[in-house]
Amino acid sequence: MKSFARRMIGIDRRIIFLLIAAAILLPLLKPFGLPIKVSPEVKAVYDYIEAMPERSVFFLSFDFDPSSKPELEPQAVALLRHAFRKNLRVIGMTHWLTGTGLADGVFSQVAAEMDKERGKDYVFLGWSPGGGALIISLGQDLYKAFPSDYSKTPTPGMPVLEGVRNLRDVHYMVSLAAGGAGIEMWYVFGKDKYRFEMAGGATGVIAPGLYPFLRSGQINGLIGGLQGAAEYETLIGRKGTATAGMDAQSATHFVIIVLVLLCNVFYFILRGEKGRPR
């Protein structure tokens, strides 16, 4: 038993990589269809958007870049599908320079699919420098912060922005964030000052740090990682890439848990051997 444990503890890490690869590949090729349970924090975002009257202003900030695409793009697609289905006016922007092209692509793709028109039903403002200062500028005058949108169309006079002067005219705001320049920044410089309701969509890495904001009501909902995106897809009744990835997610978690347990078992079997901790 001890020699087996010794061999297992010293196993080539590349075998573990192969196990993880298999745990992802197999469910992607042949999904099991495990059920997806919707959490209250994701439901809160859905319920708020669902209750918004037609042509309300929904602001979506793409605060991520391609390195977080697998987690946050499905969230963006699901939120846009929901907003367009509710016939909301959507304003988009990004604080992440390298995410500009990605965000514009997502907007164009979902708008084409939902038969929505740029400038009339939605606008993507693009990127501008400043971070918190830009949010303050948007809170004072949207047209000074973004004189033109990403496609260089002047923002004044755009039908989608009719009656919108600044952030105070936004009915709901969601920041999809992969780091500091995202949800917290939007809350600190935006919601706290200009009093609009907001929620967040976050990568799994930063989601735990946002729960204090959720609990205190500083954000009214939180979509966390691929799981959150899959929950939102379930709510809007339209399965997408997040739902397709959840079986693989569960399978990899199962493999990781088994590996952690086995490592602990082997550790305790070998404990006390020469050169090993007691």
Binding site: R14, F17, I20, A21, I24, L25, L28, L29, S67, S68, K69, P70, E71, L97, T98, T100, G101, G126, W127, S128, P129, G132, A133, I136, P147, S148, K152, E184, Y187, V188, F189, D192, K193, T203, G204, V205, A207, P208, G209, P212, R215, S216, G217, Q218, G224, G225, L226, Q227, T241, A244, G245, A248, Q249, T252, H253, I256
Partner: protein, 264 residues
């Protein structure tokens, strides 16, 4: 039914994406020239993309075009030249590269630090400290339609029982980081409780991080599976074969070289 033809640029993009993904993942075998190629391309393209976007957005859209317009419309008005102030401050930052006039950059940095602190500090105190303290000291007993009551529902964040747990967690963790008195007796118990709370928080954060990393891997695998289709010219399969053969060739060459140098 034959598959719809995809535009050439989409197929080309798929080949580049699949190839670079496989090159980067080849690092899992060991550090190799294919990984290095992918890594350098990633850094170069990110920087190049950022520079072009900054030039178009910051210089052309926010500075050059409005300045040209305002000066063209009212050349005699001092307001037309107001954008020259931030432009000058920006140029001052670049004087760091010229030691003789490098001191000018301090003016720009002083502006950035002064403005940044002035804007951020009051907002951060309000959002991160006051609001959070407010939530930590929620009332244990609330007055409802049925009189006074204390919630014991663990699933409700606002229930009295969760308020108690939160309060114990905050106090014990703060005490753990309080080093002015020795952690002994009741102090040791409190600090130990604080450690348990910290461990649970770290565990939750690590669990989420694992989930996040796996999501990224799933995203790449999903793309690789898509690009393995006939519509993309079997990009993934062909490039996987190329990557594996290249690694085998590189490994053989490295071993031969190693053998020769040992023999010499």
């Amino acid at each position: 039914m034959p598959e719809a033809m995809l535009p050439t640029e989409v197929v080309l993009g798929a080949w580049v994406a699949a190839g670079l993904t496989l090159f980067i993942y080849s690092f899992l075998y060991k550090d190799n020239p294919l990984f290095k190629l992918g890594e350098h391309l990633y850094v170069g393209i990110s920087v190049g993309y950022s520079v072009v976007l900054v030039w178009h957005t910051v210089f052309l859209r926010l500075l050059w075009e409005p300045l040209k317009k305002s000066v063209g419309e009212a050349p005699a008005s001092p307001d037309s030249y107001v954008l020259l102030i931030p432009a000058t401050l920006g140029l001052f930052m670049l004087t760091r590269f010229i030691p003789q006039i490098g001191w000018l950059s301090r003016i720009a940095f002083a502006f950035v630090v002064g403005f940044g602190s002035g804007v951020a500090i009051p907002r951060a105190i309000s959002s991160y400290i006051l609001k959070q303290i407010e939530d930590t000291v929620n009332p244990l007993i609330t007055m409802g339609a049925n009189g006074l009551s204390m919630g014991v529902d663990l699933s409700s964040p606002q229930s009295g029982i969760n308020t108690i747990i939160l309060l114990i967690g905050v106090v014990s963790v703060l005490f753990y980081f309080f080093f002015s008195i020795e952690h002994s007796g009741p102090g040791m118990v409190t600090a130990r409780v604080g450690i348990y709370f910290l461990m649970i928080a770290f565990g939750a954060a690590f669990g989420y991080t694992v989930m996040s990393r796996m999501s990224l891997l799933i995203g790449r695998f999903r793309d690789l599976i898509t690009f393995a289709g006939a519509a993309y010219g079997y990009a993934t399969l062909i490039l996987l074969a190329v990557t594996v053969l290249s690694l085998v060739g590189w490994e053989a060459a490295t071993r031969r070289k190693g053998g020769e140098s040992t023999g010499a």
